[in-house]
Amino acid sequence: MRSTAATFEENAKKALADGKLRDALSRLSEGFPAKRRDAAARLPEFDALRDQARDIKNHVLAHLDFYLEAFEARVTALGGTVHWCRTGTEACDAVLAICRKAGARTVTKSKSMIGEEIAINEHLEKHGIEPVETDLGEYIIQLRHEPPSHIIAPAIHLTKKQIADTFRDKHRQLAPDRSLEEPRTLLEEARGELRDKFIAADVGLTGANMLIAETGSTVLVTNEGNADLTYSLPKVHVVIASLEKVVPTLEDATTILRVLARSATGQDMSVYTTFCTGPKRPGDLDGPDEFHVVLLDNGRTRMLGGEFHEMLRCIRCGACLNHCPVYKAVGGHAYGWVYSGPMGAVLIPGLIGLDEAGHLPNASTFCGKCEEVCPMRIPLPSMLRSWRRLQFEQRKTSATSRVGLGLWAFLARRPRLYRLALGLGIAVLGKLGRAQGRFRWLPFGGAWTGLRDFPTPEGRTFQSRWQRERSGGRR
């Protein structure tokens, strides 16, 4: 997918002015966090399971080469094929080659963030193969030619009215004056449109929530059942997954599953959790004849072992998005690439570079909620801080902010001078603003005063007040 992360500031301004998006995002912030809280409260072991989930991934990442080779050996023994791909282009070519060999005209597809990352739909379309998104949310945004705005709720930014308009516009064979008021009617219409596509598809393309080294299985977690129709009806099943998705055993996958849905939607378990292990067996009445796993690196090995290593524990539950004040204000599209929210702000610069995505680590209030709810206990705020530090070190921030930070650092390392300068500044501001009680404009403070007034300081610094209070307390 082409990135617009570089224009995050403009994207965010546009998002903030979009009333429909406001409504959609306020629904999100009421829904998911409360459901997660309830699900966590229902399971006394929830936090202990999060610790274990973190430990499993730490172990896997420390032995990643071993587990990937073990996974590949199992898949091969089952009669499947693993395709190793360094880049999105290699992965797209691998999928296309499989589709061509199968003589595919249509490919059904269940939701996959890796699919978005490598832009597989555009690639297939360009080569005359029709990709059909089957997850309801993904189907809607495919019709609208939009990227997903949330990892697990891709059409979260749309109202039912917008969806109805899209269906009326795209499903031209249906009566133009039909009623599309009810969400149920919209669902039935999409279900009807997709039914025949499922059955006619030549290749089924899915993502994977995990890969299991022990058994060569791929794990799929969904609620609609579209992924299960996607892999069980066509002749060929292709799984696209990034390499950090591997876990050792069925038992390890189970532990992670216990925290995944609870963190994501607040369900104890998603409706359909599927373990696919190779192609059809002798005597099976259904299932694919071919099983392929397209294994993608795309920048992950660069993150391994370094400062952003822990980001590779992410299981894409979306909890950090649902709890992020910045995400809840601007939505997913503003981030400008496949991922969004705190996990996106850490991952995107790692995958497409700090030059393109440098704004994202700065789009944070450091409130810490993301780390608090992360089932894999990823230290997201400290990694956002690392990106900011790198930005500063590599001189990728503006000259003004570098000079400002340099000045501040100079003062901060000289406490006496710092106190003096601050005390002086505050005394002057206090005097100047006494009459009004606020400033409508301040030199170098335009970013603040452009949107709100700056209150007049009360004449003394916090530190001096603190000192006085403490000595007062001792009296």
Partner: protein, 237 residues
């Protein structure tokens, strides 16, 4: 340029050799990966499912109903046809069934219900009611565990809008780990290891909240999931 596989594995080995990880990223023991694969030991299992058989079945039913499944109990497999006929007529549903070979005659005496038309095999787009047999249930979350195989086509779980699942009470386990242990023993992999092509955990009927976060049942999979528990059946091998 080396081939992608060698390149990726080389990059991983290189990164791990030079890794400088903070405490929070380090493995908490030096267990070897080969050992871990061989032992496949269970991690923490929540206490919730660790119950005696009666309480376990009750929890299974409660959890399944919480996620919008319906549950009925019959004394044995012989009682299944009558329950299925009752359920379908009560909900005004078609009475033609597509059933899995695993629940065909003589396992279940369908001919005792003349109201029902029964056909065996994989699901087609036009089928309205699918009937299959669960390998196990998990009380912890009211989850059904379905194994693919000649007796249980996967498509029956997903294509028909109504799914009826038959399960023996004795097959209801407390937690998932117990079921993995049974699957490791069952040999349902058709000669390719212990895993069948598809293991499907099913927790309630299909749903979506993609339109304004409103919960709707029956997105692509079945809108109705009816679980029939046969009490006196012996557990599956």
């Amino acid at each position: 340029m080396s081939d992608p596989r060698a390149h990726i594995l080389g990059a991983i080995k290189d990164a791990l050799r030079h890794a400088r990880l903070p405490e929070s990223a380090r493995p908490n023991n030096d267990e070897s990966p080969a050992e871990r694969l061989g032992d496949h030991r269970a991690n923490l299992i929540p206490a919730r499912g660790k119950l005696g058989s009666k309480a376990r079945i009750d929890l299974f039913i409660r959890e399944a109903e919480r996620v919008n499944a319906t549950v009925a109990r019959v004394s044995g497999l012989g009682g299944v046809p009558r329950e299925v006929a009752r359920y379908l007529s009560k909900n005004n549903l078609p009475t033609t069934l597509k059933i899995a070979p695993a629940v065909a005659e003589p396992v279940i005496p369908w001919t005792t219900q003349t109201l029902l038309t029964v056909e065996q095999g994989r699901a087609k787009g036009s089928d309205t009611v699918g009937v299959s047999r669960a390998f196990a249930g998990v009380a912890e979350t009211g989850t059904l565990v379905m194994l693919s195989g000649p007796g249980n086509p996967t498509t029956l779980n997903f294509l028909p809008p109504t799914h009826v699942v038959v399960i023996a009470a004795a097959d209801i386990a407390g937690d998932y780990e117990e079921v993995w242990a049974r699957i490791r023993k069952a040999g349902a992999g058709g000669g390719k290891g212990f895993m069948p092509r598809a293991v499907n955990w099913i927790t309630g009927p299909s749903r979506t909240a993609d339109i304004e976060q409103m919960l709707l049942l029956g997105a692509h999979g079945p809108q109705r999931l009816h679980i029939v528990i046969a009490d006196d059946e012996i557990p599956r091998p």
